[in-house]
Symmetry: D2
Subunit: 91 residues, 4 copies
């Protein structure tokens, strides 16, 4: 079982919306929309994607990491988690 099992539909919906927004960006390029307006839209896609990442991370900590720790072998999970946080934090 994965950490997001209970929310698969929610994550799918959000990613589908993001996919539509990325297509919207292509359309904006196609129609030669003003650069700054595209950048504003792009920042909002980025934020939506980051929110999905935070949601997945939340489920992962609540389920996978918690379970591993409760079973006494949390160490490598924590290692892995911190690496993922570092990547999400954009470093």
């Amino acid at each position: 079982m994965v950490g997001y099992s209970m929310n698969k539909k929610d994550f799918q919906d959000r990613l589908r919306r993001i996919e539509g927004q990325v297509r919207g960006l292509q359309r904006m390029i196609d129609e030669e929309t003003y650069c700054i307006d595209i950048l504003t839209q792009l920042s909002s896609v980025s934020a939506a994607l980051r929110a999905v990442g935070m949601g997945l991370l939340d489920g992962h900590v609540r389920h996978c990491v918690t379970e591993s720790i409760a079973q006494g072998h949390g160490d490598e999970k924590v290692e892995e988690l911190m690496a993922a946080v570092g990547r999400l934090a954009g470093k």
Copy 2:
């Protein structure tokens, strides 16, 4: 003319690739891929999106902003630019 006129095809290609990656994320959710593997992929989509943003910003400064400044009315462009940089920098 917009700042990315010369590179429309390049930006379209990159956004199409990003769109494909977002669909890939949906598939990963669907197949209940391990959370951390999805997060790794999501971080790489984020980075690709940010790179498109930086590219658009570059063209915007090189063309739109430069032109406005050369014509002596750069002030509001700079204002607008700094706001866009702030949003991209994720604040």
Copy 3:
């Protein structure tokens, strides 16, 4: 006990170094150093600060969170942790 008990000296040293770097930034302003050179230095101070944050987070997860989970009351710790990760990730 806090998550960074074992590494207090290490964190103190790093923060003392960061303090010195911030004083260095003041000196650069004072001497009217070229803007971009100050920005480069400032980005490296930011990165050092973020690394301290990641280190504290790591210790916190390894000790405080792990302990709370092992004792069966990890839930609010996870809540609190995710909020801290969100702030560190700059949202």
Copy 4:
């Protein structure tokens, strides 16, 4: 002349405040303050530092870059600017 000439005192004040906050972080470590409270404080120092960076960038664009462009040799300034933006955006 540098882009922040008119605001030297303001930047000095802000950096002095940041320096004090970094010393505050050391004190928190010393007193074994709860990890999450330190992280909250650290995030606010990061935000203050980033705001100084954005302020310097703003002055740089408004003065140095604008002047270079008006004089017809803006190209390398734009190159340099985009690299600085990329570093500030944390990539």
